[in-house]
């Protein structure tokens, strides 16, 4: 599979009160054409920043973002603007990402206007087509305002807006976290349908591994700005190599009372990314950490076919 998106040694830093926060600290990953890569981690791990840096909404401090052979970090604003029709973004809060004072028809047509499609009839046809594709009745929807819709319907509208330019890569940033379980299933199924129908490549960002598993071909696990583990979805679930991946798996609530909730979820939360731990950044919460972990940053190495982990003491060493 050839890579549609290739992120190389990406660094994104923020200046905070005279200090530097490395939200993304030297991350490399690839997303193949037609693939869904799930990007998982806790709040503040840098996963959203990574997504935004790919789109150049936040210019990276260092590193490269290559999309279909073009280096995006070097593009000027105008060239990037033209490129963005091929790269789209869906956000977590569907209601906040729609302008409350504009009707749905205008919201969904906006990308067409921006890219210079002046023929109103053509725009209307495409709005109708994409709204139908996301499961909304165009006749009932186009004249109404966002507040008339539920969260799940608003997310459908956001998806329609992202798809109307027929992009190649869609970055979904926690697209179902704000939704109920039942609606979440509808939206996940819709994203899968849209991926097939439009031949999309997805970077799917979420904190919930169960949700990510449902849609991803491969999963990358991120912690405090660095990747811990990357691997094929089933492999990563069956045999997680990084202790952090194992922790995330244990934390998923299982809807079965005979499965007692894991008691050994370590107390604590990620340390501050402003002053990350030396060596392996996960070591302060890791049950396997020792002296080496405090001194040497573990490199991301292939430990099984297609499975990479950045750990000095990977689980079930193979």
């Amino acid at each position: 599979m050839s890579a549609l998106l290739s992120v190389r040694n990406l660094v994104v830093e923020y200046a905070i009160g005279g200090k530097t926060l490395s939200a993304v600290a030297d991350v490399s990953l690839e997303v193949g054409k037609g693939e869904t890569l799930g990007l998982v981690g806790e709040s503040g791990c840098g996963k959203s920043t990574l997504g935004r840096a790919v789109l150049q909404l936040r210019r990276p401090t260092a590193g490269k973002v290559v999309f279909d052979g073009t280096e995006l970090t070097g593009l000027d604003a105008e060239k990037m603007r033209l490129m963005r029709r091929r790269l789209q973004l869906i956000f977590q809060d569907p209601i906040a990402s729609l302008n409350p004072r504009r009707c749905i028809g205008d919201i969904v047509a906006e990308p067409l206007i921006i890219t210079g499609i002046t023929d109103k009839a053509e725009r209307d046809r495409r709005v109708r087509e994409v709204l139908t594709a996301v499961g909304l009745d165009a006749d009932l929807v186009t004249g109404r305002l966002p507040h008339e819709f539920s969260g799940g319907q608003c997310q459908r509208i956001c998806i329609a807006r992202a798809l109307i330019l027929e992009p190649e890569l869609v970055i979904c940033d926690e697209p179902v976290s704000a939704l109920d379980v039942s609606i979440r299933a509808q939206i996940l199924n819709l994203l899968e349908d849209m991926k097939r129908r439009y031949g999309l490549t997805l970077l799917f960002i979420a904190h919930d591994l169960a949700v990510v598993k449902a849609v991803s071909d491969r999963i990358a696990v991120m912690y405090l700005g660095k990747l811990c583990e990357v691997g094929p979805t089933e492999k990563l679930f069956a045999q997680p190599a990084h202790p952090y991946t194992a922790l995330l798996l244990e934390a998923i609530p299982v809807p079965d009372p005979s499965v007692k909730p894991a008691a050994n979820v370590p107390i604590g939360e990620p340390p501050s990314p402003i002053d990350p731990p030396s060596g392996c950044r996960f070591r302060t919460r890791c049950p396997r950490a020792d002296a080496v972990c405090a001194e040497v940053v573990p490199p991301l190495e292939e430990i099984a076919d297609g499975q990479f982990a950045a750990c000095h003491h990977p689980l079930s060493a193979r």
Binding site: Q186, L209, A214, V254, E269
Partner: protein, 322 residues
């Protein structure tokens, strides 16, 4: 079974809307024994939050409440405001979904805990501060003395929720209502907060109502589960029984919609088609009928009562139980 701590009888909540009254809670009966845990599960808008607010007597001013809410023998609906105020804290406490909005952003954590202890237990500042440190330590907050001097925005979401729990527990309530306490949090933090609630609930022999939209959250952590849909309880059973032998098609659909860890990627999820009904226009029959795959004429014609016709220990409201 001991005398119930909480007994809710025929509760209705009507909210005024431009389209007429919306029946948010439509005749709910519940009982809760001292020290037991009840999960209330349902989608947004099913009335679970309005029900809990009715119990707490924290409904919006324009809401109309009907029915009786007996708490430790007193009817909360007719209780004078001053007596209610004395009940909140030492008897009844609540943890809300969003810890940022339930904490005051311009007061330190310490001020908010000390204030609670002074108001409800009449402690002096020094004693309340000492108690505050103990409480923060009990809910797993490192360096509690320093945290007392911090403001909510200096804490992570998980830490804020721990503070909200510490405040709720501060007066040793007999009943704690946790309304989606982990929905705004990461999965790892969610597990820790749920463990914390379970631990404190057992240690203090406190009754707990855990409100959530996720059946996975209540599975290992409640004695009984009530599933709500369109303002009514549509199934209620002891937790193990609910999961091994659910009768209501809605409960089945809700469970099926959760992504399974053991199914391979790209397995389509059995989503529940459509949306909950418009509660300003109540249906004559079963409210779940338009979305139910077992529905027929009878379901459209008459509302099934919440009952246990086979006397098996679980209640359900369905003409065609599974």
């Amino acid at each position: 079974m001991s005398a119930p701590l909480l007994s809710v009888e025929g509760i209705t909540v009507d909210l005024p809307t431009p389209r007429g009254p919306l029946r948010a809670v439509d005749g709910v009966d519940l009982t809760l024994a001292p020290g037991s845990t009840l999960g209330i599960v349902g989608e947004s808008g099913c009335g679970k939050t309005m029900l809990s607010r009715a119990v707490l007597q924290l409904l919006p001013k324009r809401a109309k409440l009907g029915g009786r809410i007996l708490f430790a023998g007193r009817d909360l609906v007719t209780l004078p405001a001053e007596e209610l105020r004395r009940l909140r804290g030492p008897e009844l406490a609540v943890v809300f979904q969003d810890p940022m909005t339930s904490l005051n952003p311009v007061l330190t954590i310490g001020t908010q805990i000390v204030e609670t202890l002074q108001a409800h237990l009449g402690m002096d500042t020094a004693a309340a501060t000492r108690r505050g440190v103990e409480l923060l330590a009990a809910v797993g907050i490192p360096a509690p003395e320093q945290r007392l001097r911090q403001y909510p925005h200096q804490l992570s979401g998980g830490m804020r929720q721990r503070v909200a729990i510490a405040i709720a527990l501060s007066c040793e309530p007999k009943l704690l209502i946790a309304d989606e306490p982990t929905t705004a949090l990461d999965v790892t933090v969610q597990a820790q907060i749920l463990d914390l609630l379970a631990r404190e609930q057992q240690r203090r022999h406190m009754a707990l109502i855990l409100i959530t939209h996720d059946l996975g959250v209540v599975a290992g952590r409640t004695d009984e589960v009530a599933v709500m849909y369109a303002g009514r309880v549509v199934e209620r059973a002891p937790t193990p029984r609910l999961f091994t032998r659910m009768r209501m098609p809605y409960t089945e659909a809700l469970l099926a919609a959760i992504p399974k860890l053991d199914s391979p990627p790209h397995t389509p999820l059995p989503a529940i088609a459509g949306r909950p009904p418009d509660q300003t226009r109540p249906l004559k029959g079963c409210s779940f009928e338009p979305r139910c795959r077992y529905a027929d004429e009878r379901c459209r014609a008459a509302k099934p009562p919440l009952a246990d016709p086979e006397r098996l220990g679980g209640l359900f409201a369905c003409w065609h139980p599974l």
